[in-house]
């Protein structure tokens, strides 16, 4: 197994929102997608994934629906809501700004 890269706290929600912004997925699919997009650098801990999903569902950023998968299993698919999309934009902006600031500080000599 590969080494786990620790996520900055609070960034998991943003990443999930980002993944879901490309289309609906179930929990397993989200894990896969994150691994795939991060080129296996990210290993999502299920212990954080599901609480995060439920929290965001409660907040109304994502919504869930039970549907059949390609291989005919029942799975819960999550998709972004309009509020979720807004939240994603907001967090992306925040992230970018934070990145610049941290970059500025770190690169100063």
């Amino acid at each position: 197994m590969t080494d786990k890269s620790e996520l900055f706290p609070g960034t998991l929600d943003m990443l999930i929102l980002r993944v879901l912004s490309r289309g609906e997925l179930h929990g397993w699919g989200i894990t896969n997608k994150l691994e795939q997009l991060s080129q296996s650098a990210l290993q999502v801990d299920e212990g954080s994934l599901y609480p995060s999903l439920y929290r965001m569902e409660d907040k109304g950023w994502i919504e869930a629906e039970w549907r059949m998968t390609e291989n005919n299993r029942r799975a819960k698919y999550y998709s972004l809501t309009r509020a979720g999309r807004k939240q994603l934009e907001h967090e992306q902006e925040l992230w970018a700004r934070m990145n610049t600031i941290i970059g500025l500080v770190m690169q100063s000599t």
Binding site: M1, E46, Y50, P51, D58
Partner: protein, 880 residues
Amino acid sequence: MNFFRRLRYLFRRHLTEAEMAEEMRYHLEQRAAELATDGLPADEARSAAQRKFGNLARIQEQAREARGWRWLENFAHDLRLGARSLLKSPGFSLLAIVTLGLGIGANTSMFSVLNGVMLKPLPYAHLPQLDRLYRATPQNAEGNISPADFREFQQAKDGYGDAAAYTPESVSLAERGHPAEMAASARATANLFSLLGVQPQLGRDFRPGEDTPGRDRVVLLSQRTWQKRFAGSPEVVGRSVRIDGEPHVVIGVLPLSFNDWRFLGGVDFFRPLALTPEQARDRTSPSIRLIARRAATVAPEDADRFVAAFGARLAKEFPAVHAETHWRRVTLQSMAAGPGAAMVLPLLIGLSGFVLLIACSNLANLLLARTMARAREFAVRAALGASRLQLLRPLIAESLLLALAGGVLALFVAYWFRDWAALRSTGDNGEHVDFVVDWAVMTWTFGASLATALAFGLAPALFALRLDLNATLKSGGRGTVGGRGHQRFRQFLIIGQFALAMVLLAGAGLFIRGLDDLNKRRSGWESRQLVTGTVALPAGTYGDAEKIAAFQRLALERLGALPGVASVCLSSFTPAFVWPEIRKFVVEGQDRPVAGREPAAVVNRVSPQYFASYDTRVFSGRAFTERDTAGSTRVFILNQAAARGLFGDQNPIGRRLAPADGDNLRWGEVVGVVTDAQPAVTDANPLVFQIYLPMAQEPQRQFQLTVRAANVAPAALVDGVRGAMAELDPDLPVSRLQPADATIHRASYQDRVLRDMLAAFGLLGLALASLGIYGVIARTMAQRTGEFAIRLALGASVRDIIRLVLGSGVRLALLGAGVGLLGAIGVTRLLVAAYPNLPTNSPLVLGATTLALVAVALLACWLPARRAGKIDAISALRAE
């Protein structure tokens, strides 16, 4: 959105949990499948997946936490914990619940009375616009009006709205195949029911114009009479019944709601109020009760002004009748409860509030003790970083549970009280006084128990939170003595309890004593050997004075001849009750006062044997005799108060009086003076002048029959009397024919209900207060064992210790009683206001109450103090 999702989660938790599990299972399987494609054997793949996934239960727990209402779940958890901890100390819990249940129960019961009597609206349309109008006289603030007054108001009513009138009467009701019965009837104007907005359930209402003589032989039955006498048969409409011997046609049946005991509920049936032109001109006999409905445009203040102005106009135009009167308006709803209720109900509510307060301070004491006992636990938890809320939560949960259980118990008490009250307050005519336990009462119960449990459960909890952690931890875990503040607070509670108990006991004691005194104080007459009954001769058969007089002579003769009868008499009223008939008199040879302001007296028409039958002493002159007839000189007998009041020191015998009826005075001679008769009722009796007339000179259709038994029990005479009367006239019922003492007893049942309630409050208060002081002293004993052991070791005797403990308890009780004495005096004032005739000034009762209170406190302290003798000094000190 959010809210509903959470709510859904809360209620469909199992479903959502299942979904969560399924979702995670799918995840696991997918992971396992992936690993399997990498070449791992299936079972290894599965366990690897599981390892990777981590602790499923923990994840689900975290997920659960992310959704739903954490605090609500926590709360349920707290409740479970609270229940468990309450069950662990069943003694405490039971005591707290019973205390709360009794306190709230007493309060709820009183609220149900208030609810039933005052808050529940009468079942009439336009209720807020309905008023009773009274013609207040100096003797009677709720006086009725005369037919002429009514006609006058009818003509003026346009400035007000609409008006209807009724007048109650006792009549005999007979139909074929049934013996005649006395019934409570009322004559009403044809518009009474439409004014009240009541429609007959069966048949029709009175028609306009049926309230004229000749067309008035129709009758509307009450629901109760219909069920009782006519078995609820719908064919009753159109049937003919005989009322006072006259045939009447039943035209309808009133709805059940009209049976409301507070107003007209006791009436068996209604007939139209048909006044002959001669009757309608009568301005002197106040027989009519007036109900008015304000027009929607007339404001209450305008109505008051209108009524007052109308009364003033009458007083000016007819001073001889109305000089000392004024008119006033009372809403129908507020008069429904009766005049005493406005005074007595708040008193009862207040006293039940006292019981509740005692219960509350008991509860506070109990909870405080319990909390203090856990002080160390709290201190440790606080030291470990528990927040205030976290410390408070289990206490709140416990209080809530206690409140709930107490509330349930209180409801049982309220139901029990309802049955008790219903049993005791069935009216004279079978109408039920109904205190329903409805939503209002339920809300009150649980509101009150929640409020008290939270207020009195939290107060000690907040105390606990102010604990000095260091001090508590340092005091080595026995830090339960509590600071001076706690001690003082608990002492304050005990003093308060005893003060309240004192008020309750003294109030109850004074009332009981007063009622007792009242029975003893009745004087000037004797009732032990008497049988009394009420007779109303029907106007149809006994049309004029001569016929009435003839019947009365015959009745006296026949009844007097019965075996075992010592004497017989007829009278308008018996001395046991207040005489309602008031007349004004002019004295010959004295200046006549301004018309309408002559001296007033209550009058009673009596037959010759009256004074002998009632054992009323004739002081001077003579009693009436058979020779005082319609044809002979008019004669009067005065009581001593009237003799003194009208004639001063002069001898009244031979002087002449006349009723003040205009200028045509009919003089009569005073022939005797008798003892004052003091009735046996709690009502105010402002008039002490009593004047007697011979019944034969003013025969009346309705009269009281009194038979004195010679040497047999009065009850044994009842059948003989009834038989003799039936022989005289089979259509003539005698109502309430029974020993006089039974009638008197029955009349004071309301007072006795009140007495029982007050006694119950007093005893309840005393019991709760003594429980309270017992608890405190017992705790003190437990806490100070070490101290006492040292004292014993240093040479104190067990007696000294007991004295020490008793002294502190009794001091509290005495202090409380002292404070309560002031409150008791206040309650006495209230009782005096409500029952002016009740003797309530009794230092003896107050002294006895104080003594009883201290005695109970002594006992309650002595029980735990006794244990001082069992203290084993050595082992107690070793345990330190």
